[in-house]
Symmetry: C2
Subunit: 184 residues, 2 copies
């Protein structure tokens, strides 16, 4: 191999491509609506089709199996500590809404609540669970979405190891998107 | 609905959770190794299992089908313009390596080349193509990975509309990762 690079552990490559936005996911729940923190998510199509990884170690998993609906909520950096703490607690053992001071707002198409403190909320239905058994990978389809009018650069990114980066400088390269002009 | 939020188009929700790192993907190719730009990617497990969306509109798709291997290369902000331009050109029509001044370096486990100018390169094999027909979603498994020793906060994020944000301030919250201490 070239001397430009040095080997990097395969078991840590998620830290290289993990910095998608850290989100919270809510479901209807039994005692109270569940909330979890999630860093493994991506868009699949430009039509509201999304993918998330939610495994049986999360209380959300069981509700998602049964109800087939969830809200993906995007926190801003003001919620960074809360978001981390939400991900380190269990909805089976506590009402995270009360404990962390988060506000349930009714969604328009599903029972899972929006999170009032987040800058964006996406109401989703499970569209395909083919890869759930093998990979805990859910294909979701957005049914409605909500954005706070005052949102600027809302999200932050988990670097996979307990450190996070918030968004920095914006680069506007829309003029170079010649092949994908319809996206700009 | 509450007055906190205003409706957001479902067809644009990818812009809310798209800001994973923008990457380039290389495959072996016929005339020359292909390179494409990709913004739809995520980790699936903490063991090198990854997911990417690559559709038949990309030259890479055919090679990935046939060869089952690719390199995911992570550019830094110094390569921002080049990365956008790579995504707006076609490997079927030009040798992007020559045209954009990118350097092929041999990978250690597959034929697809690393990109010398990127800060990280992940050698991948296709592990599962169950959802390729329906969603163009490929499950990949990293076989080896390479990092430039001088890499800091390498990646930038496509906001889904031709604008990009680079990484900003780092927040170290490893002490709060009580449930996930093994990741820190």
């Amino acid at each position: 191999m070239s001397s430009i690079f040095e080997p990097y552990p395969v078991s840590l490559v998620h830290q290289l491509i993990e910095p998608g936005p850290t989100v919270m996911i809510t479901t209807g729940g039994d005692q109270w609506p569940t909330i979890m923190t999630n860093g493994f998510n991506m868009p699949v199509r430009h039509d509201g089709t999304l993918a998330v990884v939610v495994g049986p170690w999360d209380t959300t998993y069981e509700t998602l199996r049964r109800v087939g609906e969830c809200v993906i909520a995007v926190p801003d950096t003001g919620l960074l500590e809360t978001t981390v703490d939400v991900g380190n607690a269990s909805s089976a053992q506590m009402n995270k809404w009360e404990h962390f001071g988060l506000t349930q707002l009714p969604a328009s198409t599903i029972e899972a609540p929006l999170i009032g403190e987040c800058v964006a909320n996406i109401e989703c239905a499970v569209e395909d669970d083919t890869l759930v058994d093998a990979y805990d990978l859910w294909i979701l389809r957005a049914r409605a979405a909500w954005l706070r009018p005052d949102a600027e650069t809302p999200e932050f990114h988990h670097r996979g190891n307990g450190t996070f980066t918030e968004n920095g400088q914006l680069h506007d390269l829309r003029d170079r998107m010649t092949k994908w002009q319809h996206l700009t």
